[in-house]
C-alpha cells in the first residue's frame, strides 16, 4: 500500500512497512548513516540518521523507524543538522586525528561524514583512546584507537561469517572490540576472511601490509622476482584505481608488473584450471563407488580454517587439493629457472582475499621450511604499489604473461564467484563426455542468490548432484543435508557471501549491488572468452603433457595436495 507523507513541506510517496530512510532514499534525499548495513536489522545505535518528525519531541532515527501516514518529516532543519554534526564531533573527540598517516586516508567514512557535516574545528575534547595495535594476525590488523564502536565488524562476524570471533569487551569508555579473553587475533577463532575489514568505516581494521617487504625484494639485484595474480585481480584493480576496465587491461597489468620490477608474471588462473581438472578427476573416480561421500571443495582458505575449528566432522570429506594460489605457487617454486646472477627466488601472489595471507604461511604449504608463496598482497595493496612506483597503467603497451602459466580459461575466472567452481567442474565433466554445455541447465540455479543452492545435472547419462554454500550462513543447511544422508558429488563452500568477488581484499564500501555487478562482469566475460575450460586450454595441456613430466617433484602431482587437521582455538 502506498501513501503520501510530507517531507520538507513537499509530498512524497511512501510504501507501508518501509523505513523512513528507504522512503527518503527513493525520493532523492540522502541521509547520512554510520552503523547501518544493507540487509541487517537496523539498530539505530549511532543516531547519524536522525530526522525531525512533527509531533515527536525527540529526533527519530530514519533507519529504524517505519514510515507512517501522518508523518511530516524535516530532514535538514537546523536542529537535525546540529544533532548530526554534534554526533560526528563527539565521535572525533577521542579520535587520534592522524588521518594523514592512516591506512584509510581519503577512503574513510568518518572522514567523509566529518567533511559532509563541515566539521572544521575540534569543539569537543575528550581523552584519547589508549593506542593498541594488534599485529599478531598474518592477515588483519586491529587498531583500537581508531575504532568508533559502530559494531559493524562484530555484526558481520556473527551474522554473516558466523565465526563470532569478535565482540564488544568492557563497558563505557573502556569498551573496545576484540576476540575472546581480550587476546590478540592470532589466538582467536578468526578465519581471516576480511569481511570485517570491508565494513569498517575507519582504519581500525585493515589488512596487514606486506608492501615494504615487496619493495625491499624488488630493489635487490640477486633475486628472481615472480608474481602471480588471481583472475579477478585486473578487474578489481581497475575498480580500485578508478580506471574503466577493458579486455586489454589484463595484459596491461602484465606490463605494469614487469615495469615494477617483477621478472616473471604468471596467472593464478592456471592454478585454478588445474584445480578444476583435478576436482573433475576426483569426482569421476569417486562417482561409482558404493561408499561415496560428498567431496567438499577446499579452495577457500577462510572456509578451510573455519572447518578445522568449527566443523571438524566435515574434515574427512574436505578435498585435499590446495587452493589455486598454492597450486600455482608449488609449480612456480618447482619449475621457474633461477639464473646464476639471481639465484634466489621470491614469489608474490595478488588476490582479492585476506585469508590467503594466512594460508601461505601454513606449515603444510612449505617445503623444507620454504614457503611456496612468500608474500600475499591484496588488490588494494597492489594498487598502492602501482601508484607508489608511478606506473601509468593506461599509457603502456600490453604484454602477455610468462609461460608455462601464461593463459587461463574463463572457467577459472568463473571460479571467483560463488558457485563458479561447481559450474566449471561440471563443464569439464561435460566436455570429457563430449557433451558440450551439458552444465547450462544448472547455470541459473548455481548463479542464483541465497546462501544455499543445490541442483542436479545429467552428464553422460549420469546425474551429478551438487551444492553451493554461498557465505557460511548456508553451512548449517549443508550439515543437515549431509547428516540426513544426501550424497552430493561436489559441495562448494565460499566463506564470503558472493564468493571471491566479495573478498576481504577488494575495494571497501562495496554495496551488495556492486558485488553483484562484479559477478555479472564475470558471467559476461565467460560468454565472450574463447577458452572456456581447462580441457580447451593449451597451457594446461602443456603443463600436464610436458612440464609435470619433466619435473620430478611434480610428476605425481602430490604437491597439489595438502592435509588439514582439527584446530584447537577458543571458539
Amino acid at each position: 500500500m502506498q501513501f503520501t507523507i510530507e517531507v520538507n513541506n513537499k509530498s512524497i510517496r511512501a510504501e507501508k512497512g518501509e523505513t523512513i530512510l528507504s522512503a527518503l532514499n527513493r525520493n532523492g534525499i540522502i541521509i547520512p548513516t554510520l552503523c547501518r548495513m544493507e540487509e541487517f536489522t537496523p539498530t539505530g545505535a549511532c543516531r547519524m540518521c536522525v530526522v525531525e518528525v512533527e509531533g515527536r519531541d525527540r529526533l527519530v532515527t530514519a533507519c529504524s523507524v517505519l514510515v507512517e501516514e501522518w508523518m511530516k518529516i524535516k530532514t535538514h532543519s537546523p536542529r537535525v543538522i546540529r544533532a548530526r554534526k554534534t554526533i560526528v564531533e563527539l565521535l572525533l573527540s577521542n579520535h587520534p586525528d592522524d588521518c594523514l598517516y592512516c591506512d584509510r586516508n581519503l577512503d574513510c567514512e568518518l572522514q567523509r561524514l566529518s567533511d559532509g557535516m563541515q566539521v572544521r574545528e575540534r569543539r569537543i575534547r575528550g581523552s584519547k583512546i589508549k593506542p593498541r595495535r594488534d599485529l599478531s594476525s598474518p592477515a588483519i590488523v586491529r587498531e583500537l584507537s581508531k575504532c568508533i564502536l559502530c559494531g559493524r565488524c562484530l555484526r558481520v562476524c556473527e551474522e554473516v561469517v558466523t565465526a563470532t570471533s569478535i565482540d564488544f569487551i568492557g563497558r563505557g569508555r573502556y569498551t573496545h572490540v576484540g576476540p575472546a579473553m581480550d587476546r590478540d587475533f592470532n589466538f582467536s577463532s578468526c578465519i581471516h576472511c576480511g569481511q570485517c575489514v570491508l565494513v569498517c568505516p575507519t582504519g581500525a581494521l585493515h589488512e596487514k601490509h606486506y608492501l615494504t617487504e615487496v619493495q625491499e625484494q624488488l630493489s635487490k639485484s640477486d633475486v628472481t622476482r615472480v608474481i602471480q595474480y588471481s583472475p579477478l585481480v585486473p578487474y578489481a584493480l581497475a575498480e580500485e584505481l578508478g580506471i574503466k576496465y577493458s579486455r586489454d587491461f589484463d595484459r596491461l597489468l602484465n606490463a605494469a608488473l614487469r615495469k615494477a620490477g617483477f621478472d616473471k608474471v604468471y596467472l593464478s588462473g592456471t592454478g585454478t584450471d588445474i584445480l578444476i581438472t583435478e576436482l573433475a578427476d576426483a569426482i569421476m573416480e569417486a562417482a561409482d563407488k558404493p561408499d561415496k561421500k560428498p567431496l567438499i571443495v577446499s579452495a577457500c582458505p577462510a572456509w578451510v580454517k573455519y572447518c578445522e575449528q568449527f566443523t571438524p566432522e566435515l574434515l574427512p570429506m574436505l578435498s585435499t587439493l590446495k587452493t589455486p594460489q598454492q597450486i600455482s605457487g608449488a609449480i612456480i617454486k618447482s619449475v621457474v629457472p633461477v639464473t646464476g646472477e639471481k639465484p634466489r627466488l621470491y614469489t608474490v601472489s595478488v588476490t582479492p582475499c585476506t585469508a590467503m595471507k594466512f594460508e601461505a604461511r601454513r606449515d603444510s604449504m612449505t617445503r623444507k621450511g620454504i614457503s611456496d608463496i612468500d608474500t600475499v598482497l591484496t588488490v588494494r595493496e597492489l594498487a598502492r604499489l602501482i601508484v607508489l612506483y608511478g606506473i601509468d597503467i593506461t599509457n603502456i603497451d600490453p604484454e602477455p604473461a610468462d609461460e608455462p602459466m601464461a593463459l587461463r580459461s574463463s572457467a577459472s575466472l568463473l571460479a571467483e564467484t560463488a558457485g563458479g567452481i561447481t559450474e566449471s567442474v561440471l563443464r569439464t565433466l561435460a566436455a570429457r563426455k563430449g557433451e558440450k554445455e551439458a552444465e547450462k541447465p544448472a547455470q541459473k540455479k548455481l548463479r542464483n542468490t541465497g546462501n544455499f543452492r543445490e541442483t542436479m545435472v545429467s552428464i553422460g547419462g549420469r546425474g551429478y548432484s551438487v551444492a553451493v554454500v554461498d557465505g557460511l550462513r548456508g553451512l548449517e543447511k549443508i550439515r543437515q543435508m549431509i547428516e540426513a544422508g544426501a550424497r552430493y558429488d561436489l559441495v562448494e563452500v565460499m566463506a564470503c557471501p558472493g564468493g571471491c568477488v566479495n573478498g576481504g581484499g577488494m575495494r571497501t564500501a562495496g554495496s551488495r549491488e556492486a558485488v553483484r555487478q562484479r559477478s555479472r562482469f564475470i558471467w559476461q566475460a565467460d560468454e565472450q572468452e574463447a577458452v572456456r575450460g581447462p580441457e580447451q586450454s593449451a597451457t594446461v595441456a602443456d603443463l600436464y603433457g610436458r612440464v609435470f613430466e619433466q619435473c620430478i617433484e611434480l610428476t605425481d602431482r602430490q604437491l597439489f595436495h595438502t592435509h588439514f587437521s582439527r584446530r584447537d582455538v577458543l571458539l
Binding site: 570471533s165 565482540d167 576476540p179 575472546a180 577458543l570
Partner: protein
C-alpha cells in the same frame, strides 16, 4: 571443574537466557570466571566464548582472575568520596602496587571500588568479608594492610 558441572546440571542445555545466572553461580562457587569455566559454559549453552566474555566484561561484578585471600571492597559512594576515599584508594594502590580488580602476585590481596555500602555516617568505609573498617584515613592504610596481611596468612 566438577563444581561447574554441578551448576550446569541445574540448567537446560542451550538455554541462552540462563547465561547470566550461570555466570553468577560459577563466580559464587569459584570466586571468579576462569577461562576454562567460560569455555565449558560456552559448550553447554552453544554460545561463542567471545560473546560470553564480551557480555561478562560489561558487568563490574564479574572477575576474570581469582580474588586475593583478603578482598577489600572500598566504598566509592558519594559520601565516602566527599570524605576522602580517593586518597585512601591512592594509598592502597601505592601500598599494594595493584589497580582495582587486580590481585597481588602473592595472592594475598585484591580490592575493588564499590557503590555506596550504606555506612555514610562512618565513611570512608572499607569492607573485608563481614568486617567493616570505618573512618579510614590515608595515614591508616599501612597499618591496616599489615593487619590484613596477618589475616591473609591465616587463610
Amino acid at each position: 571443574m566438577s563444581k561447574i558441572d554441578d551448576i550446569l546440571d541445574r540448567y537446560r542445555e542451550g538455554s541462552h537466557e540462563n547465561l547470566i545466572p550461570i555466570l553468577q553461580d560459577v563466580q559464587e562457587a569459584e570466586g571468579y570466571l576462569s577461562e576454562n569455566a567460560i569455555i565449558t559454559i560456552g559448550r553447554f549453552l552453544h554460545m561463542s566464548t567471545t560473546k560470553i566474555y564480551g557480555l561478562a566484561t560489561f558487568y563490574d561484578r564479574f572477575r576474570f582472575i581469582p580474588a586475593g585471600r583478603v578482598h577489600m571492597r572500598i566504598c566509592n559512594g558519594t559520601t565516602c568520596f566527599i570524605n576522602g576515599c580517593g586518597a585512601v584508594v591512592t594509598a592502597v594502590r601505592e601500598q599494594l602496587g595493584i589497580e582495582p580488580g587486580q590481585t597481588t602476585r602473592d595472592g594475598r590481596f585484591s580490592y575493588e571500588l564499590t557503590a555506596c555500602q550504606g555506612g555514610c555516617n562512618d565513611g570512608p568505609v572499607i569492607c573485608v568479608g563481614e568486617h567493616y573498617y570505618t573512618h579510614v584515613r590515608q595515614e591508616d592504610v599501612p597499618e591496616l594492610i599489615t593487619k590484613l596481611k596477618e589475616l591473609a596468612d591465616l587463610k
